[in-house]
Subunit: 142 residues, 2 copies
C-alpha cells in the first residue's frame, strides 16, 4: 500500500507564500507581490509541480514563462518607473522554480548590488493594498 505513486500536484512553497500575496494568476504562473517597500518586487511561480529549472518546463511552458516575464517587466516599469529592471531565476534557497522581477533605483537600499540578501521591510498596509490593486489591474489588462 505504501508503494502507490503519488500524483504530484503543484503547491506554492511556504517561503514564497510568506514573502507577499498572490495578486494574479496568469496562464502559467502565479504572481506574488513581495511585501517589502525597499524595492518594487514581483515573483512569477509557474504552476507546475516539481520544477526547479526553466529548462525543466515543457517547451510551450517555457515560451509562456518568457511572455509572462516580459509582461511583468512592462507592468513594473509602468507602475513604478524604475531606473533598471533586475530579472533573476536563482532557486538556491527555495528550490521551487520562481523568477524575480524587481525594479531598481539608483538610491535604493542595495544599489548597485543585487537585492536578494536585504531584509524585507513591509509596506504600510493601505499602500500595499493600493499597489496590489494597481498591479493586478495592469497585469490583467494585457
Amino acid at each position: 500500500m505504501r508503494h502507490i505513486e503519488m500524483i504530484k500536484e503543484f503547491t506554492l512553497d511556504e517561503r514564497l507564500v510568506e514573502s507577499g500575496e498572490v495578486i494574479v494568476e496568469l496562464s502559467l504562473s502565479k504572481v506574488i507581490f513581495v511585501n517589502s517597500k525597499l524595492f518594487p518586487w514581483l515573483i512569477l511561480v509557474p504552476k507546475r509541480a516539481s520544477m526547479r529549472e526553466i529548462i525543466d518546463l515543457e517547451d510551450m511552458d517555457q515560451k509562456i514563462l518568457f511572455q509572462e516575464i516580459v509582461l511583468v517587466s512592462k507592468v513594473i516599469k509602468k507602475v513604478f518607473a524604475p531606473f533598471k529592471l533586475n530579472i533573476a531565476s536563482l532557486g538556491n534557497v527555495v528550490a521551487q522554480l520562481h523568477v524575480h522581477i524587481v525594479g531598481r533605483f539608483e538610491n535604493d537600499a542595495a544599489w548597485p548590488n543585487p537585492m536578494f540578501n536585504k531584509d524585507k521591510e513591509p509596506y504600510d498596509k493601505t499602500l500595499y493594498n493600493e499597489l496590489k490593486e494597481a498591479l493586478a489591474a495592469q497585469l490583467t489588462l494585457n
Copy 2:
C-alpha cells in the same frame, strides 16, 4: 558639422570583454565564457546597440534571446552537471544588456548566495582553453 547624428553600432562593453573571452557568436548574442574557476559562468550579450533591458529589444529579438538562454542553460548543464542553474539579467553596474547563466554547486564559493560579488579566480590556461572548446562545440552543435 557637429550635428550629424551618429549611427550607433554595437560594441561590447569593455568590462564584459575583460571578464573572459567571446567563445561563440549565436544569431543574436555573443557568448562570453567568464574566466573564473569558482563557477561555470557564461554571459549572453545581444548584439544590438543601446539596449539596457530585455523589454528594450524588438519582439523577435526577445524570442531569440530566450531561446539562447535555454540553449546556454542546457550546455552548462551538459558540460558541468551543476546542482542548480542561476540565470540573471541585472545590469546595475554594466548597463549594456547582458544575461548571466551560471552553474552552481552546493559546495561552491558562494552557495547558497548569489555569486555576483565574489572576486574572480582565473582558470589554469590549459583548462580554460579546453573548456572553451568543449563549450563552443556544444553551443554550435545545437
